[in-house]
């Protein structure tokens, strides 16, 4: 939905454009268009909206996120580290008999184990989300489009990238127009060479 691909190959790769950007007027039109783009077999593309559109991931044919597995792994790692650290400290590094209990008193280790499990899962979730979303991203070729500013207001967009195997400068633009886009434009891959202040 809002995953920004930043798989911009080297500009010398011979791509004339970043890709084609199309604006749609309503969420419904965008939804239908996404279904069509998905069914046409495009793979390097994204839908960009100012608000979540329910079910759009199905229309786009997105696979479920891998994040849950990462969270499970980091959570279990945190719990394991917490338990391991306490066991090591209490049994080997600094053995101390506390209130007559054996050195290996696992129930006493549970609160810290639990907390570190939660910490590991939370860190995994936040950092993993950043990593999978390729954040932080300071710049994106789509920002060169003036209409794209409306993505934070009322614009609903589909961007198809030019390194998609099915991409064709003219054909893809016409395809998106045919899906009911109100605006279609080609987005440049690099800033113009003689940038004279942009006039603004």
């Amino acid at each position: 939905m809002s995953l920004m691909h930043l798989e911009v190959p080297e500009a010398s790769g011979g791509y004339s454009h970043y890709g084609v950007l199309a604006r749609f007027k309503t969420a419904k039109a965008l939804y239908r268009a996404c279904e069509a783009v998905r069914d046409a077999g495009y793979s390097k593309w994204d839908a960009l909206t100012p608000f979540p559109v329910h079910g759009l991931e199905k229309a786009m044919g997105l696979k479920p996120s891998k994040l849950p597995f990462l969270v499970l792994a980091t959570g279990l790692t945190g719990a394991g580290l917490g338990f391991g650290l306490q066991s090591w400290v209490h049994i080997m590094a600094y053995p101390l008999v506390i209130s007559g209990k054996p050195l290996m008193t696992w129930p006493a280790f549970v609160p810290v184990t639990f907390e570190l499990g939660v910490l590991g899962a939370a860190l995994g979730a936040v950092l993993g989300m950043f990593a999978f979303n390729k954040l932080p991203t300071y710049h994106h070729p789509l920002f060169r489009s003036e209409t794209f500013a409306r993505v934070t207001d009322d614009g609903l967009f589909i961007a198809i990238e030019s390194w998609d195997p099915k991409y064709d400068d003219q054909g893809t633009a016409e395809f998106l127009s045919g899906l009911g886009a109100v605006e279609v434009e080609h987005v440049p891959i690099e800033d113009p060479v003689d940038d004279e202040g942009g006039g603004a």
Binding site: K28, Y31, P52, H54, G55, K58, P68, P107, A108, V110
Partner: protein
Amino acid sequence: MSHGPRIVRLDQLVIRPGSGWARLPLIAGAIGVVFTAVSFVLAMGSEESAKQFFHSWLVAVIFFLGIGLGCLFFVLIHHAAKAGWGVVVRRLAENLACAVPLLAVLFVPIAAFGMYDLFHWTHADAVAHDRLLQGKEPWLNEAGFWLRTVVYFGVWTAMALFFRNTSRRQDASGDEALSRRMARFSPPAIALFALTLTFAGFDWLMSLEPHWYSTMFGVYFFAGCIVSAFAALTVLTLALDFSGYLRGVVTGEHLHDLGKLLFAFTVFWAYIAFSQFFLIWYANIPEETGWFLSRLHGTPADPANWRAGTMLLAIGHFAVPFFFLMPRTIKRNRRLLLLGALWMLAIHLWDIYWLVMPNLHNEITFSLLDVTSLLGVGGLFVALVGWLLGRGALLPTRDPRLVESLAFENI
């Protein structure tokens, strides 16, 4: 976005005459009556079997009462939060909650004849030599017990009937003011519910071992009730779905949320159960540890006996369902979710058994009365809920948030 106007056939929303669901009250009722009678007859056998009967009967009544109370809590929270997503399953919870008055009736044998066999603090000769029990006498006395039991059941019955009847009145009138009325009543009802449930747990379960106390016991009882209620609500919803009801109404999205709540309260139960154990174990004060000792150290003859039962609880009530219910795919798969919910019901029954039975048996000893009591109380419970289901629509048909609930999707 996939939701436009959705057409739901009316026969999805009411029990069809002549179907299995329509016959359910009669069949389950017959089973209930027969096994209740069998239990009563078996109880007459000897002094020992009477003792066994009251303990088994208490397990059965508390188990089904917990389902009803948990569902009542779901309804209360639903109104207090003005929740939209669960409107499609709220009527099912309202019906399950209305089984509480039946359980009040089934509690009568315990309060009338079982006090001496169940509760050590009713033995006047024992109290006469026991400073601790004398100190607790202002609370633990029979008159107070009966009075409080009447208050608990009275409060719960009034709440359950109020919320079901008001919701059904809205089916007829479509008056949105009724929703506001229920939302206004629910926060004080939640407070009252918390107090009554806590003290009921103290009176009926904790006082089985009157020397022991745990301030956390009420929350522990609550956690178990909620787990079993979400499990039962999930089982009921899926059973209706499998026999062709609520199709296109209760979707994978609603089931996913029921599964999430079941998972969440399973974790909550484990958190509370461990916290209760942890503080007592760590402090190691004799007057607090006895209750856990009898459940962790078994008997001289078989030291692993109740300990194995406790381990079963730790593994079966937490470790296994924690990983089983975690993946999204399982919560959205009807058969696997049903399996998880049935398992939670079964293991929660073991939880109640584990709370009650060490009072009677030093070792785990199953009895025929355990089974007949469960079938007796369970049969009558199912019969009443089945009858209530057939008395109207399966969901609040004119609730102002029904459309929101029908369109509900997880992001």
